[in-house]
Amino acid sequence: MHLAYTSEQQAFRAEVRAWMEANVPKKPLVTLEREDGYHQHVEWERKLASGNWGMVTWPEAYGGRGLDLIQWLIFEEEYYRAGAPLRVNQNGIFLLGPTVMEFGTDEQKARFLTPMAKGELIWAQAWSEPNAGSDMAAITSKAIRDGDHYVISGQKTWSSRASFADWGFGLFRTDPDSKRHKGLSFILFDLNAPGVTRRPIRQLHGDPGFAELFFDEVRVPVANRIAGEGEGWNVAMATAGFERGLMLRSPARFQAAAERLVALFRKHEAAAAPAAREQVMQAWMDAQAYAYNTYAVASKIMAGGHIGAEASLNKIFWSELDRAAHRTAMQLLGASAELRHFDGGALNTWLEGYIFSLSGPIYAGSNEIQRNIIAERLLGLPR
């Protein structure tokens, strides 16, 4: 164990910091859950790509920098330190990208990865269906083979980014007689293809962050299928593993929130409830603990190890610390917490953050599902 950065790592940090200071928009962008904000965030993705900062952990061949996980953590720290915008291409960077790299053909890698890295195509995910949420194996949307195409019919929901994104990926039942985990395939589709209807769903904050997708005999080339027909479940599980495992939520995000929370507490200290002081300290401690754990997991993976069901521990920890930190901020703000904008017009980012934090324990596998995984796979309790 050696808990200090090498001179190369320090130099890398300085390089990221310099670029961020020169390029991060001075004025906060409009939320990416709205059309105008979405396009601002796509512009930011392209700006990142112009500096080759879009997909830092990807291999250079696909438009990345081939960085290791410690460098990724440093990049993320500088990204959040600079207050840079949220990543509208999160689905591509951390979910689809690694999936295509692991399971895609060379042709698929060339076709999808480079445009993703350049911010030219923004991706939506399409897992859940009205009757397949936590129970994802209950998917019924069909993709029926017709020559060198699939014909997709059905419905997806809670589809992140789908209101405005270009392409989507998800699981479809390619064997209509199959049940549960079998007979599913992982398919990429153009959201503007004939037969695709998007119905934006207003989220808790009022903006259309995700959408319902209706597929009415949408023709998708077979070449858009990742891995073999009927192998979709395993591909999706690997994708879900990337999401929960390490990279979905970098610790810097929560360290930045804890830092802001400490500043907020100092401002409201005189009127704060007695418990608030401890809650603020807990937010800092938990963000730090999450950072140490992430450095430990990153070090383990770099040494040839893997992350398995432990990923469920991470997902519970960050989602619950995030909610608690934002709840503390809401309580510190007291009667001002409900204001969408403060006096003077500044957006109440604590309110926005609190609303978003409520989704954390639900998406990417609800925390109840995560607790089942921990109990069954880590502790060996019976199913």
Binding site: E77, L313, I374
Partner: protein
Amino acid sequence: MDFTITEDQAVLTQGVRDYLAGVHAPELLRALDASDSRRSADVWQGLVEMGLPGLLVPEAEGGLGLSLLDGVLIAAELGRAGVAEPLADTALIAAPLLGKAGNQDALLAAIATGEAKIALQHPVNPWVADLNGASHVLSVKDGALLLAENNGRADLLESVDPLRRLYAPVAAEGTEVGSADALLDHAALIDAAQLVGVADAMLEQATDYAKNRSQFGQPIGSFQAVKHHLATAVVKIEFAKPVIQRAAVALAEGSASAPVHVSHAKLAAADAAWAMSETAIQTHGAMGYTYEVDLHFWMKRAWALSGAWGDRAFHLARIDAAVIGGALPIGPGHSFA
């Protein structure tokens, strides 16, 4: 930057775990509980033969010269096995402090051979563990750490933990060998490390019970309510571990921020162990409320270690001064500040 333990550290830890699982099983705890002294010369001799007292003693003095990081890994194993012999105090807390003090070669050598046992007296604790039976006492006066031979006898205080031996403090005196704060930080760190081991032991006991106890025709561990309680406890335990390791490295390096990280470690470990103790008794149901199942030894150890070497209020105050007070840089990029 490398946040991993080495293969050697993993092997050593596993070796100690296996040894203690054999010689220091719950049957031994029950036997000690039924004895007058609650201590066993045979158990101590076994620990000596394993080389445990000398782990952090320099090699020149007959020890293994290991680091404080090794110390916290071993301390967790002592907690897991419910060891009450004064091994952690002597070998994992006093030895590194005396090693830094200089001119203590003879005493360090005696620690490595198991002849010396060091009792630790600090104003943060109203009592001293294992004072009787200790060859030496480290005590505190005016912020200085003093070393003296132990000649006195003190009054025994009864702990709820049947294997803890607590005594009223003696007069602080002796040769100056360091600072009171150094004792507190080392002891709080090793205390935290023992607490996660205690928590892991309770988790294992509760999990085994949930697998084996059936109601409504199935193991209670198949019920989601039970699973989720245990899973919640696992999250707290697992996220305390890297905090302890990080604090061990900071303290070993003499980092100025080490006390904050030690306090974080103590809070995280105590919160995890206390939560685990309540989850474990709940999982055991009425059996958990008896003296007959083993759980109570570890539950009581968790209460005891949580209050020792700085309670919640003490350690929160140190976090407060650093984090809210602004002495410590915080935010992204300051993970290792």
